[in-house]
């Protein structure tokens, strides 16, 4: 038997569920160096590595950098990763690997697949800590056009020095081949900025929230991905040369049209921020939250939240989360940490159809969360504040448009769940009103783009969830990277 099959798949050390449910710290510290070596040794270096060719949306050369880890050459491993992956640490921690790279690992047939995700997170973390991804800052200065002179004061821009030099119209920035405005500082925006700076362009980013980072900053709870890691990633892109201005909302403070005049190209990477709502009796009651509202206010210090979005989360004993995606797993685990003793997740289909990452559901169950499948709410009751959720049982019928079995209510199966708080985690949509005002063509999921990720407006590109509708972080990173390449071609060839 070959070495790969003799070695057991390595597991990072997880904290005890009872202890970790009391705080918002990460639940594991990742691989040690020796664990990473052993796990990398499990890779058989198969001849046609489907993990990389078919499994990874970014096309990371997985067997190549794993081979460097086996030989103990972490720096080379990081360099190989960086040639395709804009944010390996983030993807290593948050991708649904069991559906992507690891699902294509040949070892999965006879044993367990190589823990590609945990290995990527390990190499990514070591490289970010040592600064291996950002060898030299771009020589291209980035900055604000004159019209934003006042805006800079509202931002967390850490290097305000030398302003006179960095302001002014983009065409005056010497040395840069082009100046690109990126709206939104989430994974798509950061990936695009990273690549654009590497290609010699100047980049200025605008973020609506007070802190940069997008979903990883606000949507992803810190027990899953520590805020310090997001800050480190943003800081890397900033040091590479991006000027990042927070607290500027497109549509309110500035329009896409104005930006298009000031910059050589504009990239819309504003995600899909609108949480879907339920139109059921009683859904206006106090104590019913959108997933975003719940996660942001439960996880992020109030001073980092835009005033309009700040809400007090009502504490209590019982919390009901509705929906079965990745976000709902984040919501139930946040609820546990906020002190709710009885946390339930309702999903209207069965375990077979659930979309959320397997690992996260496992962690939630370890932390005491109860999953109730084939269950859907019909109304919410209470006097002013929500007190009860009336549910009914479902049965699975014929497949619907998404290809999954359609849930059908079972008549007379209604029952009541007590609840002090309800979280609606039913998916996300793009902000159609904002996008209509940008006058770019809209499709069913989001903005319509061509093969070069350009919208119907020339010079205005779009990447990530704003095109795809709510989707994986790794897809947003891929889009951002590809959009940067397309923008580079556009700026050079017109």
């Amino acid at each position: 038997m070959s070495l790969a099959l003799r070695l057991a798949r390595q597991q990072p050390a997880y904290r005890d569920p009872r202890a970790r449910a009391k705080d918002f710290d990460e639940i594991d510290s990742g691989f040690t160096f020796e664990q990473a070596r052993v796990e990398a040794e499990r890779c058989v270096q198969c001849s046609k590595p489907a993990c990389a060719i078919e499994g990874c949306p970014l096309g990371n050369a997985i067997p190549r950098w794993i081979d460097h880890v086996v030989q103990g050459r972490l720096r080379q491993a990081a360099w190989v990763l960086a040639t395709t992956a804009p944010m390996p640490e983030l993807c290593g921690k948050l991708c649904p690997h069991e559906r992507l790279c690891e699902s294509r690992c040949v070892l999965g047939q006879a044993s367990k697949p190589v823990a590609i995700g945990a290995l990527e997170a390990f190499v990514g973390r070591v490289a970010e800590e040592r600064g291996w991804f950002a060898p030299a800052p771009s020589r291209m200065p980035s900055g604000l056009p004159v019209r934003f002179a006042g805006a800079a004061d509202r931002t967390d821009q850490s290097d305000p020095t030398d302003r006179s030099d960095r302001r002014g119209h983009p065409e005056r920035i010497r040395g840069a081949s082009g100046h690109v405005a990126i709206i939104g500082s989430g994974p798509a925006g950061l990936a695009a900025a990273d690549r654009l700076l590497a290609l010699g362009h100047a980049v200025t980013m605008f973020e609506r929230a007070p802190v940069a980072g997008g979903v990883p900053s606000y949507g992803i709870p810190s027990f899953k991905y520590a805020k310090s890691r997001v800050e480190r990633l943003v800081e890397r892109v900033r040091r590479k040369g991006a000027a990042i201005f927070c607290g500027i909302e497109v549509g309110r403070d500035v329009t896409v049209r104005e930006l298009r005049k000031d910059f050589d190209a504009v990239l819309l990477a504003i995600g899909a921020p609108r949480g879907r709502l339920l139109d059921l009796p009683g859904c206006g009651l106090e104590g019913i939250y959108s997933a975003t509202g719940f996660l942001v206010n439960g996880n992020v210090p109030a001073e980092c939240i835009d005033e309009a979005d700040r809400r007090e989360i009502r504490r209590g004993r019982r919390c009901v989360v509705i929906g079965g995606g990745d976000t709902s797993a984040d919501c139930v685990r946040t609820a546990v940490r906020l002190g709710f003793e009885e946390v339930r997740c309702l999903y209207r289909r069965s375990l077979e159809e659930i979309t959320g990452r397997l690992a996260d559901r496992g962690y939630a169950q370890e932390e005491g969360v109860v999953y109730q499948f084939l269950t859907s709410p019909t109304r919410f009751e209470g006097s002013g504040r929500v007190e009860r959720v009336v549910c009914e049982r479902m049965a699975l019928g014929e497949p619907d448009g998404s290809g999954r079995a359609r849930p059908v209510p079972i008549p007379g199966s209604e029952y009541v769940l007590e609840a002090d708080a309800v979280v609606l985690s039913l998916g996300y949509d793009v902000d159609r009103k904002l996008l209509e005002s940008a006058r770019c063509q809209l499709g069913p999921d989001g903005l319509v783009v061509d093969d070069n990720l350009m919208t119907s407006r020339r010079g205005v590109f779009a990447a990530g969830d704003v095109v795809r509708g709510a989707d994986l972080i790794v897809h947003a990173a891929r889009d951002g990277r590809d959009a940067a390449m397309a923008i580079d071609r556009f700026l050079r060839e017109g």
Binding site: T32, F33, E34, Q45, S47, K48, P49, A52, I53, C56, G59, N60, A61, P63, R64, G72, R73, L74, R75, Q76, W79, T83, T84, V126, E129, R130, P135, R195, A198, L199, R481, M485
Partner: protein, 404 residues
């Protein structure tokens, strides 16, 4: 095996993804008056065993083509004749081409040459072995229109005279650049190259090393079908010997050297070039990975140039020979213990484990501590450190003792 049966299709359309940004450094190199698309070409072996294989190599981005060695008759190859050794090594008793000279002249060279012309890359043929055989084979091969001829000294004995005679014989019958492929078991390759230099135009270093032996202990049998089960070692385990041989030759002669032996990464290309090679050949890794290896390795090497601010392969070629070709020494007789850049240390404990002098102590996630009086400056921790945090260079930072 019969070559008359239809071959199974070989899908080489897939790739381990290459970096999204193409390298900026110039990849072309000029050797023997020929322009190679990159310094990475095949080395003679089953990876270039016939015209179809040569065509695949050309289509997959090799810098040039080199065909498997032909001789007056097909090789009586024993079976089995190849066995994987370790992770990336190989034992073989492959000899030379198992196809007849007529088949090569009628068909295989034409297919290979057409592919080379279509890709715009040079084509080198390989011929063997004795003076008499070369006089018979070489003119026929040269008439096919190849750009250069390589001959191997593998089966010509171990006397300088015999090798020089074969080179002379070849020179007398063809008017093409001649490359001598040297075998490491010959002994002093530097001296051999110096003696051969007037009679050839370039050198290939090195052929596989042997004989060697591996035994299947479950059956008390050899893994190869040759006499005594002897085989010849190639692949990654051969690389330090190959790099040393290239350096040895490059420091003695002015003519270009093709480095062969254990190349599997871009960094290996740089190492061979620094040791004095102008091109590198790949065989074993191409068997394990497929013909995509040539482009991947070339791109990785060019990215290395980009990262280090070099514009072309000429910028690193021979760098090591120039610095150390006269026997200069830098890293010996150090008075100082290794220095640690604690900003780079990842706390992996490897330095503490490998230290044989009980001088280094390391705890997970912490920077190690060193008792300088016990340190023998053996240097193993420096090369074992995965993060490059330890070094003997005074620029790197404080000593381990100071950092702890």
């Amino acid at each position: 095996m019969s070559d008359h049966a239809d071959p199974l299709p070989k899908d080489t359309s897939w790739r381990v993804p290459l970096p999204v940004t193409p390298p900026q450094a110039r990849q072309e190199v000029e050797v023997l008056g020929l322009t190679f698309r990159s310094p990475v070409i095949p080395a003679a072996g089953p990876n270039v065993r016939d015209g179809a294989a040569l065509a695949r190599v050309a289509e997959n981005g090799a810098g040039g083509l080199l065909a498997k060695t032909v001789s007056v008759r097909a090789a009586p190859v024993p079976r089995p004749n190849m066995a994987q050794f370790g992770r990336a090594g190989m034992l073989n008793t492959e000899l030379w081409t198992e196809l007849s000279l007529d088949q090569w002249l009628d068909r295989e060279y034409d297919v290979g040459l057409a592919a080379a012309r279509a890709a715009g890359i040079p084509f080198i043929a390989s011929v063997g072995y004795t003076a008499d055989e070369l006089e018979l084979v070489a003119p026929k091969v040269a008439a096919k229109g190849v750009d250069a001829l390589e001959f191997s000294i593998h089966y010509v004995g171990t006397s300088f005279d015999a090798v020089v005679d074969t080179a002379r014989a070849l020179r007398s019958v063809v008017d093409l650049p001649i490359i001598a492929k040297l075998s490491p078991h010959f002994g002093d390759l530097g001296e051999l190259a110096a003696v051969l230099e007037p009679h050839v135009d370039a050198f290939t270093c090195i052929n596989s090393f042997g004989p060697t032996l591996a035994i299947d202990i479950e059956r008390a049998e050899p893994v190869l079908g040759s006499r005594y089960g002897y085989g010849w070692l190639s692949g990654e385990p051969l690389r330090p010997l190959a790099v040393r041989s290239v350096f040895e030759v490059a420091r003695r002669v002015k003519k270009p050297v093709i480095g062969v032996g254990g190349v599997s990464r871009g960094e290996d290309v740089i190492e061979f070039l620094m040791a004095g090679a102008s091109l590198v050949g790949i065989c074993t890794q191409a068997i394990y990975e497929g013909p995509q290896v040539y482009e991947r390795v070339a791109v990785e090497a060019a990215h290395w140039l980009d990262r280090h601010g070099r514009q072309s392969f000429a910028d690193v070629q021979g760098a090591y020979v120039r610095r150390f070709g006269q026997g200069q020494r830098v890293l010996t007789e150090k008075e100082e213990a290794p220095r640690l850049d604690s900003a780079l240390c990842i706390g992996c404990t490897r330095c503490g484990v490998v230290c044989q002098y009980d001088a280094m102590h390391a705890e997970p996630w912490k920077t190690p501590t060193l008792v300088e009086e016990r340190c023998f400056q053996c240097g193993l921790c420096v090369s074992a450190c995965p993060a490059g945090a330890l070094s003997f260079s005074p620029r790197a930072g404080r000593t381990v003792a100071e950092a702890a």
